[in-house]
Amino acid sequence: MVVEKKNSARVEAGQRRVLDDATRQRRLSRQLEALEKDNFQDDPLSSLPAPGPTARLPAFSETEEPEKKKRKTRGDHFKLRFRKNFTALLEEENLADKPEPNYLSALAPPSSLPPRHFCCVCGFPSNYTCTTCGGRYCCVKCLITHRETRCLKWTL
């Protein structure tokens, strides 16, 4: 009796979509950005039900007059002046025109060592590259997991 052989996960890769370098780079930088996040979850305060009529509502004014009054308080001035995120501050510094060394020039240059490769599923050293997305894998088992969970999509 002929036992039907399971299709090779590796060979069928030829028919799959292949991501270009730019997309792969974008995916990588999105992953790296995620590693900079303070929290993965939403602020627990924001998930509270909308405040009832008794709760103090934020005072958004529609008329001009109270707006002007508010501007004068120190707190408001403070917020306007000091509320900037990192990217805005970096831009404001205008470092390209400033003499080195500065924040940008102090960044360690790329390593001269060749990159090492690890299986993106189990983390052990890997020898193979997923033809579709460029992710690394170490064995067929990990390749299948990778296909199901991460390749061309990002579950989690």
Binding site: L28, Q31, L32, A34, L35, E36, K37, D38, N39, F40, Q41, D43, P44, L45, S47, L48, F78, K79, R81, F82, R83, K84, N85, F86, L89, L90, E92, E93, E100, P101, N102, Y103, A106, L107, A108, P109, P110, S111, S112, L113, P115, R116, F118, V121, C122, G123, F124, P125, T149, R150, L156
Partner: protein, 396 residues
């Protein structure tokens, strides 16, 4: 007049009077899902009974102070009557800043210290300069030192010669404790249990089980073995915040190889994660960050200095910051440097016994220095000359 020393880190503030001891306090605010309306500030963290899914509100972004509202709330708490009871009119402050701090942040800092809090005098300085001061005090015969400061946001390599900072040699690697925790969180969530919301818990896991491998590929091979041969594998018992307040490693004799425990605690099984995570500090390219690792960056930094300085740098490497506490960090760094540096140059890497508060201790020495009064900017001075005088006097 009292002097307050504040090493204002992105994750913890190291604070204390120059006559006193240091306290390490979270420099952030928290929200917990059990008491959602309340925001907890700094060490009020201890009041949260169930810190699962703890939400962080941090004043720093990428190591630079941007969220002043949060920072002021934390400072109000630290300076206030619950903690340090600062009498601003009679107090001076030494406060640390990151290297290459942005001009606008420096100006905001001046304004807040002098105009909002009204400190009598202030001294703003790089945390590394404080550490270097501490080192030269304890080793008066050394001419140079090279600081490796690996903190929450990033890692800096900073050479100092006779007390002055060699600005051209400063290197930054964008790998810090936050990235390591987030990476560990990510791989655990992908491989076994969804813990993406549990930054606080996983940070504790990282501190408890991670280590720096001395022979990376050998440990990788060991971590792949099955059964008792796998000496790297650990079972970590997660806290449930009722019976188990704090996570811990299962003692070796209680480990069940199948991973099925009858007691029903939640277990994380960690093998290559234990050393692959701190490995990012040595090889950021492992996760696609195209930067040198610490040993390579040290060599790059030292080579940018004049040649007669170089041997003194390699002989006086000091580790500061929380990440250097990973077991094996010092040994690995020394071994890697030994193979990168010419054989006739001695390499010595020192791990102080208090790497987190090392800069603070340097700040304490500075505050008790007879020349301290000449280094500060007083409020009168600031009111007369504004930011200009701060820019002149402070070496940031």
């Amino acid at each position: 007049m009292a002097t307050l020393v504040l090493d204002n880190g992105a994750y913890t503030a190291k604070i204390g009077y120059s006559s006193d001891q240091v306290s390490v306090i979270p420099n952030c605010q928290f929200r917990s899902k059990t008491s959602r309306m309340k925001t907890f500030t700094a060490n009020q963290l201890d009041e949260i009974k169930d810190p699962s899914a703890l939400f962080y509100i941090l004043p720093f972004q990428k190591g630079y102070l941007v969220n002043w509202d949060v920072q002021r709330k934390v400072w109000d708490h630290l300076f206030g009557k619950e903690m340090f009871k600062v009498d601003f009119a009679e107090s001076s402050i030494v406060i640390s800043e990151p290297y290459f701090n942005f001009t606008s942040i420096q100006e905001s800092m001046n304004e807040i210290l002098f105009e909002e809090y009204r400190f009598q005098s202030a001294l703003r300085i790089n945390a590394g300069s404080l550490s270097a001061r501490g080192y030269f005090r304890s080793e008066p015969y050394q001419l140079c030192c090279l600081l490796v400061d690996s903190g929450f946001s990033f890692t800096h390599i900073a050479p100092y010669c006779r007390g002055s900072r060699m600005k051209d040699g400063i290197r930054r690697i964008n790998v810090g404790g936050k990235l390591l925790t987030n990476h560990l969180k990510e791989i655990i969530s992908y491989r076994q249990l969804h813990v993406m919301d549990e930054t606080h818990v996983i940070n504790q896991v990282k501190e408890d089980v991670c280590f720096v491998s001395q022979d990376f590929y050998k440990d990788m091979a060991v971590a792949q073995l099955k059964g008792h041969d796998n000496t790297v594998m650990r079972d970590y018992v997660l806290p449930d915040f009722s019976a188990i307040k704090k996570g811990f490693c299962k003692p070796a004799d209680q480990v069940v190889l199948s991973g099925k425990y009858k007691t029903g605690e939640q277990i994380l099984r960690l093998a290559n994660e234990r050393f692959a995570v701190p490995e990012m500090l040595f090889h950021p390219s492992d996760i696609g960050i195209q930067e040198m690792g610490i040993p390579e960056a040290i060599v790059d930094s030292v080579q940018s200095l004049s040649e007669d300085m170089q041997p003194h740098m390699y002989g006086n490497i000091i580790l500061t910051g929380g990440n250097v506490l990973f077991p094996g960090f010092r040994e690995r760094l020394e071994a890697e440097l030994r193979s990168l540096v010419p054989a006739h140059i001695p390499v010595k890497v020192t791990l102080p016994n208090n790497p987190i508060t090392y800069a603070w201790e340097g700040g304490k020495l500075l505050a008790n220095d007879p020349d301290y009064e000449e280094m500060v900017v007083t409020r009168d001075d600031y009111e007369e000359n504004g930011h200009f005088v701060c820019e002149e006097k402070f070496d940031i």
